[in-house]
């Protein structure tokens, strides 16, 4: 193998570091995309025995958005192994204990079963807020697109924006609101 062929190989198998903003995103839909990148399934050189997965940094995991009644109805089961050791933790309770766990478990479920899960999960880095260690941020060269736009909340609009918002009609001055 010549020197140029060697660096071509190096470039082909280089690990990319992606970053993903989980703000207002469905963790279960996001996990499908993230798990693909962790395994390297998005690459043409992919093979199950080929170690070609990328790293993904997920931030703002505290601000994920679960669909429907998922916060209330989704239960995370754990059993200590002792009699009576079963426990069911609701999603909102788990999120209060550790705001990265819902995202972490969602990705873990998406990955293929087997021992490779441990190695693959080591390439996922989840941070609850916007603070990411500087040495990890230096590696990042790619951003994963958010699956849905972040909606604006009503209180994020300033008084001026509300005033300038186009209106079809306005109440008459002498109209008394109930």
């Amino acid at each position: 193998m010549s020197a140029y062929e060697r660096v071509k190989q190096w470039n082909t198998f280089a690990r990319i570091w992606h970053i993903y903003d989980a703000k207002w995103q469905n963790p279960f839909d996001s996990a499908k995309v993230i798990s693909k990148h962790i395994q390297g399934l998005h690459k043409p050189i992919y093979h199950p025995l080929n170690n070609c997965g990328d790293h993904v940094i997920v931030f703002n995991s505290r601000h994920i958005a679960l669909p429907g009644y998922e916060w209330k109805k989704r239960a995370y089961f754990h059993h200590t192994g002792y009699p009576g050791g079963a426990s069911w933790t609701l999603a909102w309770q788990l999120h209060e204990i550790n705001p990265t766990l819902v995202m972490q478990k969602a990705v873990k479920w998406e990955l293929p079963r087997g021992l490779s899960k441990f190695g693959l999960m080591a390439r996922l880095h989840i941070f609850p807020d916007e603070e990411i260690p500087e040495e990890l941020l230096k590696n990042v060269t790619s951003q994963l697109r958010q699956l849905r736009p972040v909606p604006r909340t009503l209180d994020s609009y300033s008084d001026k924006e509300i005033e300038e918002f186009p209106k079809v009609m306005d109440y008459p001055n002498d109209y008394i609101l109930k």
Binding site: S2, N11, A14, R15, N139
Partner: protein, 340 residues
């Protein structure tokens, strides 16, 4: 219960080099491995390994004249029978034959075949000339240093002996040593080229060299056969020859900077902001050097996107083509004018 059955576990344990029969199970693979190793040792010590086959010429029904005739026909070239016989006879063979005859009592040994030494030098210089000429026409933008390197590779003992053995010269060459050495195959091949040249003309012999020697470049990258030192300096020299601004290296990509798997992509850009070469590497320095290498091979028309070398060119051997420019005086504009 028989005695053997009673002690079978203990016997097994002994056979498998287990020192305690209280171990969990028997390590079957240990005994199998040891038995296999012992068998191999036995084979070598008692001479059971197969010896190399005896030379084909020692067989009773060996008819050298018939073999020689069919060898010539298999090549598909017209070769004078005496020239063909001469080209495949090494000096060492003649010496041994003469000694044999002297041992029997013949004062002036008679042999109706000559040694190939005069043919070898002639054939080697012809092959060398033809290969260089062909490469200059097939790779008009490749500098002369590169042509020389590719030529040297093609004429090495390993490559030529490989060709010779694959056209069936292993058994037919008459030489004292057995098995035949690569140096004998190397010189006999050139003698064969010269025999074809003397029986026909330069054109036929040239086509023979083209079909057998130059085709060895198939699947090979000519850039790998020529190592350029300081490619960045060479690239700058070429741009100075063109009278243009020196190309500018830029970092166009990087990933995993803080990891041991860091990867950088550096590209060279010319004054028109066009990318002229792209390189990769684990450090910026290596990526830059590789980018310069890529830029050079794009200029020399030997990059991956260029068409491979043609092996069906008809070369006029009487007409000497001008030598390709050397790396120091390489100029694309002059070359483009020359090639039209």
């Amino acid at each position: 219960m028989s005695i053997q059955k009673l002690f079978s576990t203990a016997l097994q344990a002994h056979r498998t080099y287990l020192f305690s029969i209280q171990a969990h199970g028997f390590k079957k693979d240990v005994s199998r491995k040891l038995m296999e190793l012992y068998k191999r040792k036995e084979d070598i010590e008692f001479g059971k390994t197969p010896s190399p086959p005896p030379p084909r010429s020692s067989y009773l029904e060996w008819n050298y004249d018939a073999e020689l005739y069919s060898f010539g026909k298999r090549l598909g070239e017209h070769i004078e029978p005496n020239l063909l016989a001469q080209s495949l006879t090494q000096r060492s063979f003649i010496v041994v034959e003469e000694e044999k005859q002297k041992a029997v009592g013949i004062e002036d040994p008679i042999l109706n075949v000559q040694e190939n030494t005069p043919l070898v030098d002639e054939g080697k210089s012809f092959t060398s000339r033809y290969v260089k000429q062909y490469l200059r026409i097939a790779l008009p933008f490749f500098p002369e240093e590169g042509i020389q390197s590719v030529h040297n590779y093609l004429l090495t003992e390993k490559v030529i002996a490989n060709i010779a053995s694959h056209i069936g010269m292993n058994d037919i060459v008459q030489t004292a040593e057995y098995p035949i050495e690569t140096s004998s195959l190397h010189s006999c091949f050139f003698a064969l080229v010269e025999a074809i040249r003397q029986s026909n003309d330069d054109h036929t012999a040239g086509n023979f060299v083209r079909d057998f020697v130059l085709t060895q470049l198939g699947g090979k990258n000519v850039n790998d056969l020529w190592d350029i030192e300081n490619p960045e300096d060479k690239l700058n020299t070429i741009y100075r020859n063109h009278g243009e601004e020196l190309p500018e290296p830029r970092l166009v990509g990087a990933s995993g900077k803080n990891t041991i798997l860091a990867n950088y992509r550096v590209a060279f850009y010319n004054k028109d902001k066009q990318m002229i070469g792209l390189g990769f590497g684990e450090s910026v320095q290596i990526a830059k050097e590789m980018a310069a290498r890529d830029a050079l091979r794009r200029l020399f028309r030997t990059s991956e996107r260029d068409a491979p070398i043609k092996y069906n060119l008809d070369i006029n051997t009487s007409q000497q083509k001008k030598v390709n420019p050397s790396l120091e005086e390489w100029n694309e504009k002059i070359l483009l004018q020359a090639t039209g």
